[in-house]
Symmetry: C2
Subunit: 334 residues, 2 copies
C-alpha cells in the first residue's frame, strides 16, 4: 500500500469520537484536520486539550459542521454521533452534500436496508450523485458478529447455520457503558428501561441481515429478546457497586429464520465481571467450523480501530452506500 496520508475530520467528540481523534493523531497515515461537536463545553477547545494530551494539536472543536467541511475538504469524515439512522440522517446528508466520504459508527448504518430501506436508498442515491462513499462499521455491528463469520465462511464447504456468541466483561469498560447496561438496577427498573429501549444494544438485527446478505439468504422472520443478567454476588467496579439480586448487565438474543429454520443466532451478553469473556463464531454444516477470540474484542478500541482502518478502502471505493461485504479486507495502517 502507498504511503498516502488521509486527511480526516472527526464529527462527534463523545467517548468514541475522542478515541478516534486520538488514534488518528497517533497514526502517521492520517492527519486530523477538523473536529465537530455541538456541546458548548467542547466547542472552541483544542482537541489536544480535550483529549488530555501534552499540548495543543492546532485543531479546535467547532459547531458549524458545514463550515468545517467546506474549509478543510477532508478525504473522509469519521462520524460518531448516534446509533439510529433516522436521527443522524441529516448529518450524513450534509456530509455527503459537502462532497466528503464518510465512515460512521452509527449502528443502524452497518446494514441500513434492514431497518430503513427508504433512507438507505436515498443515501445511496445522494452518495452516487456527489461521488462519495458511505460506510457504517464498528466492532458490533460491523465486525465480530457479522463480517467475521462471513469472512470465516470463505473456508467452509457448506454453512447451514451461523451462531455467534459475544461475552463482554463490562467491568473493564467506561462508566456510560456500565450505566447503559443497567448496572445496579432492580429487575423491574431494568424491564422499564428495556421497554423504553434504553438498555438495548443496537445492531443485532443489522448483523443478522448483513450475514444473510453475504450468504445469499433471505430472512423471513427476525426476533429479538432482552433480559437482565442478575448479580449472584456483590460486584464492585470503579464506578458501580451491585448487590446480589440486582442487575449487572444485559443478555440479548437475536434470531433470524430462513426457510423456516433458525439459521442465524446472535447471542450478546455484556455484564460486570463476565468471566471468561470471549467472542465465538460457530458455522454449522457438513464440517462445523469454530473460531474463538479469547477475552473478546474490547468494544471501544476495536470500533475506533476498524472505523479508522476502513478509511483507505472507503476513499478508494466507487461511490455509493456500501457495507462491509462490499469492501476488500480492511487492514491496520501505521
Amino acid at each position: 500500500m502507498s504511503e498516502r496520508v488521509y486527511r480526516v475530520v472527526q464529527y462527534g467528540m463523545g467517548p468514541i469520537g475522542q478515541e478516534l481523534a486520538r488514534l488518528a493523531l497517533e497514526r502517521r497515515s492520517y492527519e486530523l484536520v477538523g473536529a465537530i461537536d455541538i456541546d458548548p463545553a467542547k466547542v472552541g477547545r483544542d482537541v489536544g486539550e480535550l483529549l488530555g494530551l501534552e499540548g495543543p494539536v492546532g485543531v479546535l472543536v467547532r459547531a458549524d459542521a458545514e463550515a468545517v467541511l467546506a474549509e478543510t475538504r477532508p478525504d473522509c469524515v469519521l462520524h460518531t454521533t448516534g446509533s439510529y439512522l433516522d436521527r443522524v440522517f441529516p448529518q450524513l446528508e450534509s456530509i455527503v452534500r459537502a462532497g466528503c466520504n464518510v465512515v460512521s459508527t452509527c449502528e443502524e448504518l452497518s446494514f441500513p436496508a434492514a431497518g430503513h430501506p427508504e433512507l438507505a436508498a436515498r443515501l445511496d442515491g445522494l452518495a452516487r450523485e456527489y461521488g462519495v462513499t458511505v460506510l457504517g462499521t464498528g466492532v458490533n455491528p460491523g465486525y465480530v458478529m457479522d463480517t467475521l463469520p462471513l469472512f470465516f465462511s470463505g473456508v467452509a464447504q457448506q454453512v447451514t447455520a451461523v451462531r455467534v456468541e459475544r461475552i463482554q466483561n463490562a467491568s473493564t469498560r467506561r462508566k456510560p457503558l456500565q450505566e447503559k447496561i443497567g448496572s445496579g438496577k432492580t429487575v423491574e427498573e431494568f424491564q422499564q428501561l428495556a421497554a423504553a429501549g434504553t438498555v438495548r444494544h443496537v445492531g443485532l438485527r443489522e448483523s443478522a441481515y448483513l450475514i444473510a446478505a453475504g450468504l445469499g439468504w433471505r430472512i423471513e422472520r427476525y426476533e429479538e429478546r432482552i433480559e437482565p443478567v442478575i448479580a449472584e454476588r456483590r460486584i464492585e467496579t470503579r464506578y458501580f457497586t451491585v448487590e446480589p439480586g440486582r442487575v449487572c448487565g444485559v443478555d440479548q438474543l437475536g434470531r433470524a429464520f430462513v426457510e423456516g429454520e433458525e439459521r442465524i443466532t446472535l447471542h450478546l451478553r455484556m455484564y460486570l465481571d463476565a468471566d471468561p469473556a470471549y467472542d465465538r463464531v460457530l458455522l454449522e454444516g457438513t464440517t462445523p467450523l469454530e473460531l474463538v477470540i479469547p477475552g473478546g474484542l474490547q468494544g471501544d478500541r476495536a470500533t475506533t480501530a476498524i472505523a479508522l482502518n476502513a478509511v483507505p478502502r472507503v476513499v478508494a471505493h466507487a461511490p455509493g452506500l456500501v457495507t462491509m461485504v462490499d469492501l476488500p479486507i480492511i487492514t491496520v495502517r501505521s
Copy 2:
C-alpha cells in the same frame, strides 16, 4: 447476492482437483462444465465415475485443455496442478489466452511477486490484455497464515508484529500428505528430502509477503528453516506405522524482518497425532489480539472451499492478477 450459476472447468484431477469437482457438483451456484487432466488413467472417464459418485455426471476428463476451454467457455477455471509458478505458468498462460478467469491453488501464485516478480508482471499484463482475472488462493497460503491475520488486523489500533501458528494433525489427512511430510523416515533420510525440497510446505514465504503487503511493510530479509518432528512413541495411522525415534512430520518456521526486527513469524507444524491441533493468530501491539481456530482448518477441505467460494469475486473483479487482499470478503454460497 444473485442466484447466478457459475460455469466452471476443473483443470487438474488430482486429490484437490477431485475434491473441488465434487464440491462444484454439490453446490447449486456452480455448474461443472469440463475437466482436464493428462493422466492416461483418468482421460476419457466420466468425472462422476472417477469420484465414485452413484452415476455419471456427463463430464469427461479430457487431456486437450485448449479444446475444452474453447468448447465450454467457462466463467472460471479451477486450476490445481502444481505448487511452483514457473512450472504451471504455461498452463495459466493458455487459460488466460482462452479468455477465462482463473482461481488456482498454485501456492506460489498466492503472492507471486515474492518469488517470481517477472512472471507475475507478465501474467498481470496478459490478464489485463485478455480481460480476465487471475487469483492464487487456498487455505495455506491464501487464508489461515496471511489473509486471516490481515483481516483480523482491521480491528487493531496498532500491529507491531504478526505471529501465526498452525498445528495440523496429519493422521487425519490423505496418504500422499502423510508421505510428503516424511512419515517413518530416519532423520538422515528426512534431511536429504529436505535438502531436495520434497518435504517442504510451499507458501510460507508467500504468506509473509502477503501480510507485509497488506500492512504496508517492506520485508528486508526472509528466512526459513525446516526440521523433522520425531515420534516419541509408536504411531499408527491408516497408512503408516512410525516407530519411536523416526520422523512423524515436519516443523517449518518462516521469519520476516522489517526495519531490523522479526515482525512476521509463521510456524507450521504438520505431524502425525498432533494434539491439540489448532490455528492461532497473535497480533502484537499496544493491545495484543489473539484468535484461535480449535482443531485447525483441515487443509484439503478448506483449500477447496476457499477456491470455489472465490469464483464469484474473481468473476466480478476488474481484470488483472490479484491477491486475496484485493478482493471483497469471500463467503460461501449454496
